[in-house]
Symmetry: C2
Subunit: 207 residues, 2 copies
Amino acid sequence: VDSTVQPPAIDFWLEFGSTYSYPAAMRIAPLAAAAGVTLRWRPFVLGAIFKAQGWPPDSPFNWQPAKGRYMWRDLERLCAALDLPFRRPAPFPQPSILAARVALVGLAEGWGEDFARAVYRAEFGEGRPIGETAVIADLLARLGVAAAPALSRAQSDEIKTRLRRETDEAQRLGIFGAPSFVTADGELFWGNDRLEAALAWASKAAS
Amino acid sequence: VDSTVQPPAIDFWLEFGSTYSYPAAMRIAPLAAAAGVTLRWRPFVLGAIFKAQGWPPDSPFNWQPAKGRYMWRDLERLCAALDLPFRRPAPFPQPSILAARVALVGLAEGWGEDFARAVYRAEFGEGRPIGETAVIADLLARLGVAAAPALSRAQSDEIKTRLRRETDEAQRLGIFGAPSFVTADGELFWGNDRLEAALAWASKAAS
């Protein structure tokens, strides 16, 4: 056995305000399992990266109206094709930092992936305001997770610092949008529509 | 026979400076034929649309450097997967108005699609400066088209006006990038990676 051989792996960089992260989050686990690719879910905050690029403090889908109109229709079509519920949240984008912090807690405690999917379903499937603590607490309760300690830990300095560091790491990797996928050999793939290509690359690189 | 039944059809909106229009232009004809979808190639000029949005007078891939770095690597991977030659032209973007005007002439005269593919192959497969009249003349000669009359007609007021009108029409349709595909029932799809979805939509809508 060659101990240097690594199994195929992908880092899945997700932002809870990101529309196309919704179908990616709902699709990735079974596709990765079928491809034999190990996943690491890595929530981060895109706003900080947009800001560092000198962009307006808003979603590009808002300050680029033609692209924004297209995106909502495209997402609606995508969700219909995937049989995913779709409801546009208002306002858009929803504040995503609380969800990202709670997800970091959950990923350390074993319920992070289910929580991430629950957030996306609530936000883009039901149009719920995922920036509100009560909504996050409700999602946690439905997952059988005690909300108070999870929320408390999510607001700890440890988790706040970790989310900032993850965002810094995303920026260092050249990430500029979400969802993004980074293979073990450093290839970056951007967008829900690159998920299959990223998994294929990871499988090929490891074989 | 119901004379109101239309065969499936797509308008293929292409911009000769656009990187992702290259793989789309090379892929679309056989895919459309296989899907039974009639194509109309519609060259337009994206710069005017960017300008109308208040964007800088340059490709977004230049003024968004992280996205630009990613795009070049993504295009290189795509071309490798499609067995298309790839060479990054310098400068980028190349001036595209001459090629668009000549393509309009060619589309009226029956050699426009071959010319469009030849331009993309020269530009992104060989890195040739497609803004230069001599390069366009060479591409025309290789297609067996007399260059002088084609270039003369391309610079006529009729063709200049037609290109401006096509660009106005693209903007009216909500087009903000290239390649874009618009089905007969008005659905807009943006990007080489939406070509298959656009063809499927056109087939479904017409059935």
